[in-house]
């Protein structure tokens, strides 16, 4: 049979039930968290007009977009991120809405990149956008929510780095260098090509202070002391404003007692051009690539004809899943799966028992085939059931777990094990 019939396109993936449940659990955990913070979900089409999704150059390169023709002749594209479609919605249908708006999403996005190092062509993002406020408190809130999100899914050893695009932009603007030269410096910083950075700063005519500062940029990372050093080093007003903004954000995060998870990194340069202020990047020590990214984008919505500041972040769901697997972190994901026996022997009793547990929120499967007990238990282990139950009377059951074997229990007592209920129930 043809390869194209049996496989999925490069950079795409099937989520089999175990992975699909894990993915849903993360999304559900985040959805519930975002909800509690007042972020309301927004759903936009998977495909958009090419002109709309290319407005902010979200994919970094227009060449990374999946493009195709509609029968009417318009060029369409699959969304490369959710921030741009949300900007479109805000500038059009939500233009009249009272601001600030708190929006969130859980969506698949598409980029035509080489599938490697954690990059896929179709991947899932959950994120938030706080639209209509230019306050540093809005930035502090999205950073705080990014931290809380990663805590909520049970990730360990993670950090959120925060920086500011205007710090290095101020230095570059102030340098008196041509656009081209500034671009090559920015590119060297973005690629973290410090060899090129050294060569370029050596070749270009720069003041001694600017040269030292540019070379120092990759090392401006740490806590509050970095903000102090950064202000002393950059005399230009743009960089100064950037640091006073970042300091105000840092003060807020300190008040929220979140600075343990925060690092200032002024050498962080983003490959997406729409960022205009604070930028953030989340990562864990257990994985070689970032798990989340975001920042302030005050001009993107203006591309759609409506000037409106905004800030937000997106988390990569597959990357969180990978990091959790590395950290053996799925233990915090509850498993309530029940396999109920006895349908063939006493259909009414088994059926009613299953229904009672389902009403409590347990996922219950009924064994429809009559196998020997050891075969059933083997199946239960292989399938990842937490309990196998055998109804004895309408009130009493036998319960089997892999660790403890069989024991008898009241049905009501067993159902109480669920406690607060199943999140996905």
């Amino acid at each position: 049979m043809a390869y194209t019939m049996m496989q999925t396109p490069r950079g795409t993936k099937d989520f089999l039930p175990r992975d699909a449940e894990r993915k849903r659990w993360i999304e559900e955990t985040l959805r519930s968290l975002f909800w509690r913070w007042g972020y309301r979900e927004i759903i936009t089409p998977t495909m958009e007009f090419y002109d709309a999704v290319s407005a902010g150059d979200a994919a970094g390169l227009a060449g990374n977009l999946y493009r195709f023709f509609e029968r009417e002749g318009d060029i369409l594209a699959l969304r490369p991120d959710m921030t741009t479609p949300i900007a479109r919605v805000v500038a059009t249908r939500l233009q009249g809405a009272a601001k600030p708006l708190r929006l969130c999403y859980h969506a698949n996005v598409f980029r035509y990149a080489d599938p490697q190092a954690g990059r896929r062509r179709e991947f899932y993002q959950s994120g938030v956008e706080l639209v209509g406020s230019s306050s540093h408190l809005a930035d502090a809130e999205v950073i705080a929510l990014a931290v809380e999100s990663l805590k909520a899914v049970g990730l360990k050893n993670f950090r959120v780095d925060i920086g500011h695009v205007d710090y290095y932009e101020g230095i570059l603007q102030n340098s008196g260098l041509s656009q081209d030269k500034r671009r090559s410096l920015r590119m060297a910083l973005l690629k973290k090509d410090y060899v090129a950075l050294e060569e370029l700063t050596g070749d270009f005519s720069l003041s001694q202070e600017d040269r030292e500062l540019l070379l120092r940029l990759p090392h401006l990372r740490g806590g509050r002391e970095i903000l102090v050093e950064a202000v002393e080093r950059a005399a230009n007003p743009t960089s100064q404003r950037a640091i006073s903004n970042l300091t105000a954000i840092y003060d807020a995060l300190e008040a929220y007692q979140l600075t343990d998870w925060i690092q200032v990194d002024l050498g962080m340069i983003k490959d997406i051009e729409y960022y205009t202020g604070m930028v953030l990047e989340a990562y864990t020590a257990d994985m070689g690539f970032t798990i989340g990214t975001g920042g302030r984008y005050d001009h993107l919505i203006h591309q759609f004809g409506y000037g409106c500041p905004a800030t937000g972040f997106a988390l990569g769901i597959e990357r969180i899943m990978l990091a959790l697997s590395r950290q053996d972190g799925w233990t915090s994901m509850p498993n309530f799966r029940v396999l109920c026996l006895g349908l063939a022997e006493g259909p009414k009793l088994a059926w009613q028992t299953a229904e009672k547990l389902r009403a409590k929120g347990f996922p219950v499967e009924l064994a429809v085939d009559s196998f020997a007990e050891d075969e059933i238990l083997e199946y239960a282990v292989a399938q990842g059931f937490r309990w196998v139950i055998q109804p004895l009377t309408p009130e009493r059951i036998r319960v089997w777990t892999e660790a403890d074997g069989w024991r008898e229990q009241e049905l009501g007592e067993f159902a109480a094990a669920l406690g607060g209920g199943v999140p996905n129930g």
């Binding site: 490697q116 060899v195 090129a196 070689g288």
Partner: protein
């Protein structure tokens, strides 16, 4: 230097291995185990949390991009060709050579613009070659070979080659002459982007020490 934090350094097998070991030893990293010829691919640095990983040069950027190694040493030629998303921390200076375009001396061609419009170029570096030729506005057909690229023009497989050359001896021996320089190539210290953040102090400590050693050898 902080040698307690676990750190994995990918060392390229082959011509760069010896100078890498020499440089690291001068920087105070014990490479004794690495010098021991054995089949082991993972070699701990005694008394530290560090270890070496011996890899094929072309694989070093891959190990580093995925974070399987925090640091790696690789030639700029391999790094350019790999297009991996890694941080490039330091020019180590050794392994110096040039990435050039060469043709048969007997072809009479002395300028890249004189290549025929349907020229074929043999190389181990198809990405660099494609990019370089398209920047020059030449639509060359790039033929990917895995070694002995000099053979290409001799047997009529290609009109030109793109390859690295240290002294030019191999070129001369095969009747080839360079007609264009693409890049000067030296070996580079590269790092995983997240390791740069998470193990900043460890990595920065090593980089600083290496800089001192490199400065000494220049001075």
């Amino acid at each position: 230097m902080d040698k307690k934090t676990p750190l994995t350094i990918a060392v390229p097998k082959g011509r760069l291995q010896k100078p890498v070991m020499e440089l690291l030893e001068r920087a105070g990293v014990d490479c004794g185990e690495l010098r021991n010829p054995s089949r082991k691919l993972i070699i701990p640095v005694p008394g530290t949390g560090w270890r070496f990983l011996l890899a094929k040069p072309a694989d070093v950027p891959t190990y580093v991009e995925y974070g399987a190694a925090d640091l790696g040493v690789v030639g700029k030629d391999v790094l350019l060709e790999s297009r991996k998303d890694v941080a490039e921390l330091l020019d180590l200076g050794f392994g110096s050579c040039r990435l050039i375009v060469a043709v048969l001396k007997s072809s009479g061609i002395r300028d890249i613009q004189d290549l025929d419009f349907n020229s074929r170029v043999a190389t181990k570096f198809p990405r660099i070659t494609t990019e370089f030729f398209s920047r020059q506005g030449i639509q060359a057909e790039v033929v990917h070979l895995n070694g002995s690229v000099e053979l290409g023009p001799i047997v009529g497989l290609a009109d030109a080659i793109v390859d690295i050359t240290e002294t030019g001896t191999t070129l001369v021996e095969n009747g080839l002459v360079p007609i264009a320089d693409i890049a000067r190539v030296t070996s580079r210290l590269i790092a995983n982007r997240v390791s740069c953040k998470v193990k900043y102090h460890t990595i920065e400590g090593l980089v600083r020490r290496l800089r001192e050693v490199l400065a000494e050898s220049v001075g």
